[in-house]
């Protein structure tokens, strides 16, 4: 398996507080890896460093053999809060990347329409984000990120703000889109069932300071049944791991 993202001994401290301590990870091409852990474990900070928004205090992040120093179009991102441009319609949001790449007007329309259809929103092309539901907004945001054909796709708790039903629907959608697009995806979540449903590999994070606790491949074939005994067994096992870390945080 070709390695796509290499996180090499990355530490991050804000002032005196060490948020992440010597993280080393390798993420293979065309895999979906979940960073799983309770809030405060630094998983989002790690993702921000892969995106290039934040620089590591020590160590480095390498994507496609090049050290990450700033954000770039190679690394697309989907945020929990959508971050759609409110003054652009759904279609125009997806067109943003192709516009920056200076595709001719017709071509970028076609690209945007293609990806809008992929997320099932062709009927809402001319709506502004303010007119869309949370689930629809996140579909547009996903389409916008993949329409730019990034080398890796970073997702920062993308379904965290959605209600349970919409969330499951979008998780299924994610798997379908993955079949079509073959992306390398780094996915941050605190939901164990979400990680188990989507990921090839799960990185369970430790807290105080943030570190890699355990990495394992999910031994289940797609599509996965959330109710199957194996799924539930794995869920229970990971829950125990995560609980240890939550207790460390001293809540309750």
């Amino acid at each position: 398996m070709k390695s796509k993202i290499r996180i090499e001994g990355v530490s991050k401290a804000f002032d005196a507080q060490v948020v992440l301590d010597r993280i080393t990870l390798e993420i293979g091409e065309d895999t979906l890896t979940c960073l799983l852990g309770p809030s405060g474990c630094g998983k989002s900070t790690l993702l921000s460093m892969v995106a290039g928004f934040v620089q590591p205090s020590r160590g480095r992040v390498v994507v496609d053999g090049i050290e990450v120093t700033k954000p770039s179009a190679d690394r697309g991102i989907v945020f929990q809060d959508y971050a759609l441009f409110p003054w652009r319609t759904a279609l125009e949001n997806i067109e943003f990347g192709p516009m920056i790449r200076r595709l001719p007007r017709r071509e970028r329309r076609d690209v945007a329409a293609h990806y809008l259809a992929m997320v099932g929103l062709e009927a809402h092309a001319d709506k502004f984000p303010g007119q869309l539901s949370g689930g629809m907004k996140q579909r547009v945001a996903i389409a916008r990120a993949i329409a730019n054909r990034p080398s890796v796709l970073l997702m920062d708790e993308p379904f965290g703000a959605l209600d349970a039903q919409t969330r499951e629907q979008l998780q299924e959608e994610m798997l379908r889109i993955r079949q079509l697009e073959r992306n390398t995806i780094l996915f941050v979540t605190h939901s164990i069932s979400e990680a188990l449903f989507l990921a090839d590999r799960i990185v369970v994070m430790a807290t105080l300071p943030g570190a890699v606790k355990q990495v394992f491949e999910v031994p289940l074939a797609f599509p996965r049944d959330r109710m199957s005994p194996q799924f539930l067994g794995l869920e229970r096992m990971i829950k125990a791991l995560v609980r240890e870390e939550v207790l460390k945080l001293g809540v309750n």
Binding site: P86, F96, F128, R144, A145, N148
Partner: protein
């Protein structure tokens, strides 16, 4: 938010909103009727006060409060003589020129200051020192510096309108959602592209608010400027009428300024609604 099924997630939301639209139409009609009644009552009260004073109570000299129709007659008379159109044109051209200068400087400087903390540190102190001073305090000085011609008045109006435009532009540019900037960065946008495609559109609502407040400020100060040094304009009309105790002319001048303010504000609001249709739509209007 409630759970969304597949159907409701993808169905156009307009079907269910039809009764809401009907209710909103009724609401709008009621609003229109109430507003009309209010205007009619205003003029009726004015008329009654003027009439009763002149013929029944005789509390004060009736010249002090002419009835509305006398103001209307003054409007007709001054329009025929060409005085009123000339004064309106004079005031409007000063306001528009001053406003345009203020808009250009306010948006430009506001943008630069909003973009760079260093420049902000450099420019902010004197601007903050000047801002609380009522522009009128500088009017006599400006007249001495730039004479009683058009120049002093245009500069004065520009100065008065500059601050609201500058301040709101600066705030709008400064507080652009960092997530939107990050999103644009990961879509490959350069600094310049981010400014053009993210920062400017995100700051547009603030800029437009500043322009509207700035314009109101222009109308606010033009009268004073024309009191002091002018031989035309609505302020001149009022001041001149004062010397001759022409009450109806004075009220006419004030009414015309109010009308101009109302018309321009409606136009600017309409323009704003068009430019910011994404925001209006979000409110469901």
């Amino acid at each position: 938010m409630t759970a969304l099924s597949d159907a409701s997630e993808n169905a156009p939301p307009t079907d269910a909103t039809a009764p809401i639209h009907a209710a909103r139409r009724r609401e709008r009609l009621t609003g229109f009727v109430l507003r009309s009644v209010s205007i009619i009552c205003f003029f009726a009260l004015w008329y009654a006060a003027s009439f009763l004073n002149a013929h029944v109570w005789k509390l004060f000299n009736p010249v002090l409060l002419p009835p509305p129709q006398e103001v209307l007659a003054a409007a007709v008379e001054l329009t025929k003589s060409g005085e009123l159109p000339r004064d309106i044109a004079a005031s409007l051209s000063r306001v528009v020129e001053g406003f345009l200068v203020a808009a250009m400087l306010g948006v430009a400087i506001g943008t630069i200051v909003g973009r760079s903390r260093r420049i902000e540190q450099l420019l902010e102190p004197p601007l903050e020192l000047l801002r609380p001073i009522p522009p009128l305090a500088f009017l006599p000085v400006l007249v001495l510096w730039f004479g009683i011609g058009e120049m002093s008045k245009v500069i004065f109006i520009a100065y008065a309108a500059f601050f609201p435009i500058y301040t709101t532009t600066c705030e709008g540019i400064k507080y652009v959602d960092v997530l939107l900037i990050r999103a644009a960065q990961t879509l490959g946008a350069s600094e310049r592209e981010i400014f053009r495609h993210v920062v400017l559109p995100a700051a547009t609502p603030s800029i437009i608010t500043g322009l509207r407040v700035g314009f109101a400020q222009c109308l606010f100060v033009i009268v004073a400027a024309e009191f002091l040094a002018a031989d035309s304009g609505l302020g001149y009309l009022i001041n001149d009428a004062r010397s001759f105790f022409l009450m109806s002319h004075m009220l006419l001048g004030a009414a015309v300024i109010g009308l101009i303010g109302f018309v321009f504000n409606s136009l600017l609001r309409r323009l704003e609604a068009y430019i910011l249709r994404w925001r209006v739509d979000a409110r469901g209007n």
